[in-house]
């Protein structure tokens, strides 16, 4: 049975430093949740507390409704995969995987033959059967990581905690292992909590993302929710690059760039109190939502055009602000943009986070008068 984790008001201080500040969150049984956040935001600290390797100063961690410090790790059924593998160096791969079964008390310990069969099955699962007799020092990083995973799975955990399991691997192996983990998660009755500081990994793999910053939870939601409805500029900027455009709201919710007066966007909710005329706003716009149109009277000047894989990256200067636009490479020729050429700039989609009022965000689209060629 997969585990349901509920974290209530957990705080953890190291001396005067608050590593976790009243963190509360629920991880429904069977979900794969990504714990995402910048370095030092408290991800490892939270994971260790859930694992019972560290203890909160205040608050509790409940696994299936039970306080998890009350039980021996053996009964808790929590698997932990360490960031740096932490394999037992003097044991073979098979020995590492068998460890959790071998240390069980006599009554609960499977027979030697059963352990052997289980280890073989687990190694097949992580596709490392042929390395069973090797020592950890004789494996590659990705292989070690999979051994660590097999070792954690040997005790049939209801909850699997992974601390940046793919952090030390190259992008390709990381993607493969990530997909593989996702499939594994679906095949087993298990709840997984995956720590990562790679937003792409979190967006791709997780059912739900918990975004942390400075020991607090910034936002919890599905990848789509976090990406399309970020609760704060921090969330928005953490989940991908974004341009900031300083502007002023004019009549009809039209946003004009501060300085040039160019109309670049329009509020989709012009009746909103915070979209009232005269209001200064900071528009957050993803590079692919920034549209450019070559025009001799345009206010933006192209600074550089670079090809980056499937996209072209165009840097423009608009009223002293440097902005980045991304456009599919095949569309680049039809844009007729070179270094130094002038262009009109339009926001296809953007948002702002008013500081006054109840927070939340305002959504913006291209001005209604604008029709893309």
């Amino acid at each position: 049975m997969a585990g349901h984790v509920s974290i209530r008001d957990v705080s953890r201080r190291f001396g005067a430093f608050t590593a976790l500040d009243a963190v509360s969150l629920d991880i429904p049984a069977g979900e794969l949740v990504a714990l995402l956040g910048p370095s030092g935001s408290g991800k490892t600290t939270l994971l260790r507390i859930i694992a019972g390797l560290d203890f909160p100063d205040t608050g509790q961690v409940l696994i299936n409704g039970e306080d998890n410090v009350a039980r021996h790790p053996r009964e808790r059924g929590v698997g932990f995969v360490f960031q740096h593998y932490a394999l037992f160096r003097h044991m073979t791969v098979a020995g590492n995987v068998a460890f959790g079964l071998q240390v069980r008390p006599r009554g609960l310990r499977p027979s030697k033959a059963e352990i052997k069969a289980r280890v073989a099955a687990l190694l097949d699962l992580v596709q490392l059967g042929w390395l069973a007799d090797r020592y950890p020092s004789e494996l590659s990083g990705g292989q070690r990581q999979r051994v660590a995973l097999a070792r954690a799975l040997a005790i049939e955990p209801r909850l699997l905690l992974l601390d940046e399991p793919f952090g030390a691997l190259d992008t390709k192996v990381r993607k493969e292992l990530g997909q593989w983990l996702r499939n594994l998660h679906h095949d087993q009755a298990i709840t997984s909590l995956l720590v990562t500081h790679d937003q792409e990994e979190a967006l791709e793999l997780a059912d739900r993302i918990v975004l942390m910053s400075q020991g607090r939870v910034e936002q919890i939601g599905t990848p789509a929710e976090l990406y399309t409805k970020p609760a704060s500029p921090f969330v928005l900027e953490f989940l991908g690059e974004a341009n900031r455009i300083a502007g002023v709201v004019g009549e009809g919710g039209l946003v004009r760039v501060a300085g040039t007066g160019d109309a670049v966007a329009q509020s989709i909710d012009p009746g909103h109190a915070l979209a009232a005329a005269g209001q200064a706003v900071t528009l957050y716009v993803r590079p692919h939502d920034l549209l450019l149109e070559a025009r001799a009277d345009g206010a933006a000047v192209v600074r550089s055009v670079k090809v980056a894989g499937a996209f072209a990256k165009i840097e423009v200067v608009l009223a002293d602000q440097v902005l980045t636009a991304l456009t599919p490479l095949h569309r680049l020729p039809s844009l007729h943009l070179q270094e130094g050429s002038r262009a009109r700039l339009v926001v296809a989609q953007g948002m702002s986070f008013p500081t006054q009022g109840a927070g939340g965000s305002l959504q913006f689209a291209a001005p209604r008068s604008f029709a893309m060629a």
């Binding site: 694992a51 390797l53 021996h72 790790p73 053996r74 929590v78 698997g79 932990f80 360490f82 740096h84 932490a86 394999l87 037992f88 160096r89 003097h90 044991m91 073979t92 460890f99 959790g100 240390v103 069980r104 992580v126 596709q127 490392l128 020592y135 020092s137 004789e138 590659s140 990705g142 292989q143 999979r146 070792r151 954690a152 040997a154 005790i155 493969e176 292992l177 997909q179 593989w180």
Partner: protein
């Protein structure tokens, strides 16, 4: 999607092996030459001279000399006490290293420094201190004297003196390994359900075993050669508590140079054999771990 890894590359070419492993360290040839020169000057030459001296006795004379009860007794005392003392050092040295690394108590640094005392102390001073301490009227000796146990001036005293000089070898070889051990391995074992005892016996102990055997070997070798502290605490009775190094000195005092050399040669062979045995054991323990 496939994660199947490619098999490891075939072993390096024959040519590569014939030429020997290339090394990135500069001046390997020169430093190797100097090492061999110094080694032969201070180890090989004296040893050869001693073996040559012993050879003057002839095979019959050698066997006759070495089979005397006094010589056999001395070897028994030396080997037995050194082995027992090294074993004791291994056990308590491990304990001391553990406490020094894993616990924090006031005076820990002082205790840490005191471990080196047997290294620094002139052995004769240690011998006098120990024999006074363990004499029937000494602080410790008087505690066991009522039960008819004598420590100073018996083989027990020899054993204690050898333990004293052997202890720092074990502590100093185990301590750094314990210090460098990742806490994560223990945490991993804990998460997998291992108890404290299991974590120690299955995770920590195997990791420090190589350094422990190295410490044991050094303590043992030191015990075989120890002279200064032993002659003070032992009654030095031939065949009972006389150690081999003392026997050699006694032979020399009687101007029996060939006899002394013969005993010395036997000692050398025995020590070498023992150390080789320990090294082999250690290699067995380590095998696989470093590929």
């Amino acid at each position: 999607m496939s994660l199947a890894d490619s098999r490891p590359a075939p072993a390096s070419s024959l040519w590569g092996r014939l030429r020997g492993q290339r090394s990135i360290l500069p001046g390997l040839g020169l430093s190797l030459g100097i090492t061999l020169f110094v080694l032969s000057l201070i180890v090989f030459l004296p040893t050869a001279a001693m073996v040559g001296d012993a050879a003057t006795l002839g095979v019959g004379g050698l066997v006759h000399l070495l089979a005397t009860p006094r010589v056999l007794g001395a070897f028994k005392v030396s080997l037995g006490c050194a082995a027992l003392a090294a074993l004791t050092s291994a056990i308590f040295g491990l304990l001391i290293a553990w406490v020094l690394v894993r616990t924090r108590f006031p005076g820990r640094r002082l205790a840490d420094a005191m471990v080196d005392l047997p290294f620094a102390l002139p052995t004769s001073v240690a011998g006098i201190a120990l024999s006074t301490l363990y004499a029937p009227n000494g602080w410790l000796g008087s505690l066991v004297a009522p039960y008819g146990i004598r420590i100073s001036f018996t083989v027990i005293g020899v054993y204690i003196a050898l333990t004293f000089v052997g202890l720092p070898f074990v502590v100093r070889s185990v301590q750094p390994v314990l210090q460098d051990m990742e806490a994560e391995q223990e945490e991993a074992a804990h998460m997998l359900g291992a108890g404290r005892l299991q974590i120690f016996s299955r995770v920590i102990f195997p990791a420090i075993l190589p350094s422990l055997t190295a410490g044991f070997a050094m303590a043992f070798a030191r015990g075989l050669g120890e002279y200064g502290s032993v002659i003070f605490i032992s009654s030095n009775r031939p065949g009972v508590s006389e150690i081999v190094p003392l026997l050699i000195v006694n032979q020399l005092e009687q101007f029996d140079f060939a006899g002394a050399a013969a005993i010395g040669t036997l000692m050398l062979i025995l020590s070498l054999a023992l150390l080789c045995g320990i090294m082999l054991l250690q290699r067995l323990v380590r095998s696989g771990r470093h590929g």
